[in-house]
Structure formats: structure tokens, C-alpha cells
Amino acid sequence: MTELSDELLVAYVDGQLARKQTRAVEKVLDQDDVLAARVDALKHAHARLEAAFEAILAGEEVDVSAASAPVEDGIFIPWRIAKMALAGIGIAAALALAIAGYGWPLSLPGGSQIAPHAAGLSGDWQADAARAQALLSRQSLEVGLESQANYDLVAFQLAHILETNLKFPNLQAQGFHFVRAQVLRYDGVPLIQILYLAARGGPLALYAKKGEGSDTLTPGRYGTIRTVTWAEDGVSYLLAGEVDDALLMRIATRVKLEPAPPLRSAPKPYTPVNDALDTSR
């Protein structure tokens, strides 16, 4: 076996040698199987490193394109109109996800499964609307639109209703801002819906419901709606929206990797005393 140092072989694999040196190394490799195998192993390691760094770059490009999408005209609209629009978005998302089946089989409060054309409803929209209606509960209206600006209050309300801490992620870095959250109902059990919007496109929704399941991120789709499901810490999650598969998986990964939130306490209402106590700390 010919003695060639790793230094020389790595320089050869990296294309750092002069032409004359390259030819000399190739000549040796033609005659030495052991060295040729070593070069193959170095090339293999080199290729896998390149692929790993490419994978990171692909993720960065997705992030940058999502974050830098131009803001459309009309995003700054009066709050009254915004409330109507947001309510519409919530209902639209509920309908879309009702159609998608939420990853959980939809059922009436009594437990019977809803068939799309069941219960004497003739039109598709009526059956879909009935599905969405089955998801609404009194609590859906108790988390009011007026409270949505207080992120901590909404998080507290949701955790209180679900009776466990749930992830309430900030997706600004992914280009989505929190719009509103509400409580739906599935088989008598609270189903949390947290809605986000990007500068363009449809809503992104994170659903959370008490329950166990696989902790693996599982992709799925219904029509144009992409979904990812998983469960952790006794809460079952569904992330859904009309977004790119890779972006949705990256957001789901981010949410899953996010540490569990601390136990939330009720935010104190503003009073002069509370304010003075906070200030004196």
C-alpha cells in the first residue's frame, strides 16, 4: 500500500491540489484499492456535509420568503370592520377544518357521527354548516373579540378552559401574526382554535384538545388544506392551513420544540393599587 496522508487525500477530494498533483494522486489511486476506498469514504463524508448544509439553507429560504411577503393594501382597517372580518375568518376556518375532519372524527354532542348529507340536509353547504355548528359551544362566544388584544388574558382563558397548559406559540418569526382564539366543542370536550394570518393567503390555525396520541409530527392534507398532527403533555394538536407543506412542517416543528409554558395565573386587572405595586417592584 502506498503511503498518502489524509491531508493530501482531503486536499485532493476538496479540489485543492494543482493539476499535476491531482494527476499523480489519481495514478496512485488506480493502483491501490485501499487508498481508493479511503478517498471514496472521504468523498462520501464531504457529500453528506454538503447535503446537511443545503438542508439548513433550504429552511432559511422558506423562512425569509414567508417573512418578507409584501403587506397587501387594506390590512389597516377600522376595528369594527376588522372584527367582522375576523369573525368571518374564524367561521371560514371552522368550516374548512370541519370539511377536513380536524384529524378527529366529527360527531354530534350525543356521539353519533355526522355524515355529509345526513339529517335531511339537502345542500352541501348546509351539511358543512351543521358540522361547523356542532363545534360551537357557549364558551365559543365567551372568549370575546374585545379581549383578543390581551395575549396573556387569552392564553390564561384557554388554559383555564382546557384545564391544562397548552402551547400558544408566537409565529411572528414565521410571518404569521396572532389574530384571535376561540373555544369550540368536540363531543362535549373543549377544542381550542388559535388563528393566525400572514401578509397574504388564508388563515393558519392551531387546534388543541385534551387527549393522548402519537408524539410524532404526522403530515396530512384535505384538498388544499395541509395538516400536521401530534400530541404532547396530554394535549393533542392539529396545525392546519393552506400553506406550503415544508413551511407547515417547519412551523409544527417549531411549536413542538417550544418548551411547555409555565402555569399561567390570571392577569391582574388594572387598578391604581396594582399599578403602584408593580411599579414599586
Binding site: 496522508s5 489524509d6 469514504a41 472521504l42 463524508a45 443545503e54 417549531r254
Partner: protein, 168 residues
């Protein structure tokens, strides 16, 4: 160029969120000190170097720099989730995480960015020979791990990186 700078910052700190934060601070510093840019220097080489220097500067100010430089397994692994069905090269990711940051960045600059040893050395403020020596040690180490080959005998083939008695 922004995704490339972001990747550099992510690999440097081993965390996407921390990387975004570092990049933001470094970009602000670059804008404030743009007079330091020398005409004729490749912009990407200068920008990578500025991010690295900014990180070093912040690290030196920290009470426990070694603890600060430690990275989390899950967060580092999350850097490589590019597409939902993409193959995740776990051995390579674990190997990269185990490397000191300067070695990890050497690999990124040469194999990820395609820089020559001189440019990579300018970013990391070391000589091209140091870059070459790092690459030999790291690539040979990874190759041995991936092929289950016993590490090469240092006396036979590997040049020492540092003069005797001056190990890092």
C-alpha cells in the same frame, strides 16, 4: 445573501431563534460601522466575519462563556428540518453538534459556502493552513465514523495541528 447569513448565524449558535437574534444585532452593528468595510473585500466574506466577531465580542462579555456556547440537541437538530419528507442525516447532525464552533464554521464555509481556504480563514481570523488542517482532522474523523473505520494512526499520516507543548 440573507438566507446565507442566517444559516451562518444559526450554525454558529446552534439555534434558529438565537441565530435570528444574533444576525439582527450583527446587522445593526454592520450598518453602524460600515466605514470599516474595505473596498475590494467580498461582501459576503466581510459580513460572515462581522457576524463571527460580533458573536465573539458578546461571548467575551458573558460571565460564563463556555456555558453560553453550549447548544441544545433538539434545537440544533431542528436547523436541518428543511422539508417534511427530507432525509434527516442523524449521524452527520450529531457529529456537527459535537464539534467546537470554529470547526463547525470551517466546514460550513468550505463545504456549505464553497469558500477557498483563504476566504474561510479571513472570516474566522485564522491562516489558510489552519483551515486546511481543521478540514483534514474533521473530514477524516467524520469519514471514519461513517465507515466504522478505526481512526488513522496519528504518527503515520496526520500532521500535528500545533507545535508541541502549544495544544489549544
Amino acid at each position: 445573501m440573507l438566507p446565507r447569513l442566517k444559516r451562518f448565524a444559526d450554525v454558529l449558535v446552534g439555534d434558529r431563534d438565537e441565530g435570528a437574534s444574533l444576525l439582527g444585532r450583527a446587522l445593526q452593528a454592520m450598518l453602524a460601522e460600515q466605514h470599516r468595510y474595505r473596498r475590494g473585500t467580498a461582501l459576503d466574506v466581510w459580513a460572515f466575519g462581522e457576524i463571527y466577531r460580533h458573536w465573539l465580542h458578546e461571548l467575551r462579555d458573558h460571565a460564563d462563556p463556555l456555558a453560553r456556547a453550549k447548544i441544545d440537541d433538539a434545537r440544533f437538530g431542528a436547523l436541518f428540518h428543511a422539508e417534511q419528507d427530507s432525509y434527516l442525516d442523524v449521524p452527520v447532525i450529531a457529529f456537527l453538534k459535537s464539534l467546537p464552533v470554529q470547526q463547525r464554521l470551517t466546514l460550513l464555509l468550505v463545504y456549505g459556502e464553497g469558500f477557498d481556504h483563504g476566504s474561510a480563514g479571513r472570516v474566522l481570523d485564522v491562516s489558510p493552513d489552519t483551515i486546511a488542517a481543521r478540514l483534514v482532522r474533521i473530514t477524516a474523523g467524520l469519514s471514519d465514523q461513517l465507515s466504522d473505520r478505526a481512526p488513522a494512526q496519528a504518527a503515520a499520516t496526520v500532521e500535528p495541528l500545533y507545535p508541541e507543548g502549544l495544544s489549544p
